[in-house]
């Protein structure tokens, strides 16, 4: 049995907020890693918001996930400016290094690879984002070296 006490606490924290759902989902995901069926059902029971609506919100926003993801989420920009500056070569190299296709997670649970829309950093394109950090002026080699650092950090803390 998963400990759901934190969900209850999070929901109670927002009891005075008029439209609390997105805040609640954000905190629940931060606490538990992803928004599982059990967690969202608990949120539905606690808030009296139908699960169908909560699930709709959770699947609408790309920063919410209803599936378990890696410790580090690598988001590569797939918009035009990055493309022009060579993002495809960067992405191909990342895929090769991690052994992943888009939206897959490495077996060790360290990395998930995703696309993102424009991050507003076109001046330093091509860019990628790993969790909350952004990296610009990427080359295939630079991207791999960054990922290697994360891998070492991730394995050390495992």
């Amino acid at each position: 049995m998963q400990d759901l006490k934190k969900v209850d606490e999070i929901v109670k924290n927002y009891s005075m907020t008029k439209t609390p759902l997105i805040y609640i989902l954000k905190d629940v995901q931060k606490e538990y890693g992803f928004l599982s069926e059990t967690l969202l059902t608990r949120v539905a029971k606690m808030t009296n918001i139908p699960l169908s609506e909560i699930y709709g919100v959770a699947t609408f926003y790309s920063l919410f996930t209803t599936e378990a993801k890696g410790k580090y989420i690598v988001r590569c920009c797939n918009n035009a400016p990055c493309h022009v500056k060579g993002s495809k070569a960067v992405l191909d190299k990342i895929k090769e290094y991690l052994g992943l296709e888009m939206n897959e997670t490495t077996p060790d649970g360290l990395f998930t690879l995703e696309f993102t829309s424009c991050l507003g950093l076109c001046a330093v394109a091509p860019v990628m984002m790993i969790n909350d950090e952004v990296y610009g002026n990427l080359t295939p080699e630079k991207a791999v070296s960054i990922l290697k650092d994360y891998k070492m950090k991730g394995l050390a803390n495992a």
């Binding site: 049995m1 998963q2 759901l4 069926e37 059990t38 967690l39 969202l40 059902t41 608990r42 539905a44 029971k45 139908p50 699960l51 169908s52 609506e53 909560i54 699930y55 709709g56 699947t59 609408f60 926003y61 790309s62 209803t66």
Partner: protein, 579 residues
């Protein structure tokens, strides 16, 4: 009320403040194309087909939601408008499978109609399939997301009309689709099977679980004795499936059509509706006299039963233990009728024609086998019954009237009004009044419980005992009553609840479209039938009296309990036990 004058396509039109452009245009006979708009629901402006140009506005506006303003100049037919509508429709069509000839909604599909209205001759985009798989997990409802046009009417109906919220919009942008949370399947969530979503769907993305094939198979089988019962509301609506205007009463033509299909006996659910009144009326008086759980809640509507089992299981002791008329009929068909006519009940195949999709679920409930067999074998919606007749070239409006068969076809006016919201209450009060006071009721038409308002209240004096009654239709209204009952704020004796707006005449198995205007007309047809009946009180039904004498014994007696009463199951809204 304040009026507003505006100009639409050069014509001046005056409407009350708050009127939408779409409604104002209708007043001067311009039918603006629309797909996501439905008169029962608030506008969501998703389909973009109803766009119009307003002088001074840079953007087109959706006329379903945009309110008229004084002096406004609207153009509903400019090139900008026509091109935008064409583009919006072609984009919708480019994601629609276009398998019209094999679709349940062929010829009454709103997407087809709009394509015809806009004169579509080509689609400039390649077909791209929509996300989502065929969902056959429910006994009542099938979902085919590949046909969905994302109008959201089903979602709104489920949430706002029924307060069930079983389905929602999921994903985003090009990949958005309608589904149950975590793709569970509609049969695995707290869907009440009411089928109101089917009624609101403009296309064939939602439809009933088809029973026509199994009924044909039984009719083709010479060893089967196939009998049929028709629900009260079907006679007031099935004509619409054959192009007759709403409100056409076709009771005896329906009997003739069913006999032509090959049913050995055509019986009437009205017979067991009368029986329900005797059993439920007796139960009500017993609860009042013996201090039982009150208010007593009616149990005829299987969508409503599903609703209370899932959402208010703690209130189940309030629900009458009476089976619905459909299930009482099934139990008697395979016992009383079988014995009386020397037929082996295992050879009887019992079909019902219902305005309802939840009846399919109800007939399949494992406890509905008190005859020793599955009491009701197949349930056809009004729509499916019409399809079967059409399949073999029976045109209902042309048929010569024929009467129901005896004895399970004998009924009263009190039974036929079961089809309308308030009907069960009115029928029960007609009988309970006379049983208690031993006096005839002055005016048997109890107007306070009639009409399409969501919640109605009435009080009737039974020799000093003032019986307080309430009636609701549409489950969002039921929820309001249940919350009051749960809070101890409602002091009723008897409450009638129907899942669907308007009661069974607005049921999820009825001809599409259904609107408030159509419900009104069907309801009038039902009251017309009642007024034309020789007997209008259930306790005066001679066939029901004979049934007690020959077979059942006393109302609420041992045998009646065995065959005509049931129990309910406590369920939850969400299956996830851990949460």
């Amino acid at each position: 009320m304040e009026n507003i004058t505006l100009t639409i396509d050069g014509k001046s039109v005056t409407v009350p403040k708050g009127t939408t452009i779409l409604d104002a245009a209708e007043k001067i006979n311009i039918k603006i194309p629309r797909l996501c708009y439905h008169p029962d629901l608030p506008p969501v402006s998703a389909c973009r087909l109803c766009v119009v140009e307003i002088e001074g506005d840079r953007l087109l506006r959706t006329s379903c939601s945009w309110k008229c303003q004084e002096g406004m100049k609207v153009n509903t037919r400019s090139a900008f408008v026509r091109e935008s509508r064409k583009m919006a429709l072609e984009l919708l069509l480019s994601r629609h499978p276009m398998k019209c000839t094999e679709c349940v909604r062929n010829n009454f599909c709103e997407l087809q109609s709009v394509a015809e209205q806009l004169g579509t001759r080509e689609i400039r985009f390649d077909y791209k399939e929509r996300k989502g798989e065929l969902d056959t997990s429910s006994a009542a409802i099938v979902r085919d997301p590949s046909k969905c046009i994302l109008c959201r009417r089903c979602i709104q109906t489920c949430e706002l009309v029924q307060s069930v919220s079983a389905i929602g919009l999921e994903g985003r942008g090009y990949e958005v689709w309608v589904d149950t949370p975590f793709g569970k399947g509609i049969g695995d969530v707290a869907c009440v099977s009411c089928g109101q979503c089917i009624d609101r769907c403009p296309v064939g993305a939602l439809y009933e679980n088809d029973h026509t094939a199994r009924v044909w198979k039984a009719l083709d089988d010479p060893t089967k004795h196939v009998i049929v019962q028709t629900a009260p509301a079907v006679r007031a609506s099935i004509g619409e499936m054959f192009g007759m205007p709403a409100g056409s009463l076709v009771t005896d033509k329906l009997v003739a059509g069913l006999r032509m299909l090959g049913f050995e006996k055509v019986f009437d659910t009205d017979f067991t509706a009368d029986l329900t009144i005797i059993e439920e009326g007796t139960e009500l008086l017993s609860r009042i006299n013996k201090g039982g759980t009150l208010p007593l809640l009616t149990s005829c509507s299987p969508g409503w039963i599903n609703f209370i089992e899932h959402f208010y299981p703690e209130l189940l002791p309030h629900v009458s233990s009476c089976k619905s008329p459909q299930q009482m009929f099934g139990a008697l068909a395979k016992t009383y009728y079988a014995q009386k006519n020397g037929i082996d009940p295992k050879d009887i195949y019992c079909v019902s024609i219902m305005p309802c999709t939840a009846k399919k679920y109800e007939a399949g409930r494992p406890e509905m086998n008190d005859s020793g067999f599955q009491d009701v074998d197949a349930v056809l919606t009004t729509r499916e019954a019409a399809v079967m007749m059409k399949q073999v070239g029976i045109n209902l409006p042309d048929l010569t009237e024929e009467p129901y068969d005896d004895p399970l076809g004998i009924s009263t006016g009190a039974a036929v009004i079961f089809g309308n919201t308030g009907g069960v209450m009115e029928a029960a009060l007609r009988t309970v009044y006379e049983l208690v006071t031993k006096k005839p009721l002055d005016d048997i038409e109890i107007k306070a419980v009639r009409g399409l308002e969501g919640i109605k209240e009435a009080e009737i004096d039974l020799n000093g005992l003032k019986v307080k009654a309430a009636v609701s239709n549409g489950l969002a209204n039921a929820r309001k009553l249940l919350d009051k009952i749960a809070a101890g704020e409602a002091h009723y004796h008897f409450v009638e609840i129907m899942a669907c707006p308007g009661g069974c005449i607005g049921g999820g198995g009825q001809p599409i479209p259904t609107s408030q205007d159509i419900r009104k007309k069907r309801a009038e047809a039902i009251y017309l039938e009642d007024r034309g009946m020789k007997i209008r009180k259930s306790h005066e039904n001679p066939a029901v009296q004979m049934l007690y004498k020959e077979f059942l014994g006393e109302p609420n007696g041992h045998k009646a309990h065995e065959l005509l009463h049931t129990h309910y199951i406590k369920k939850t809204v969400y299956k996830d036990a851990e949460a």
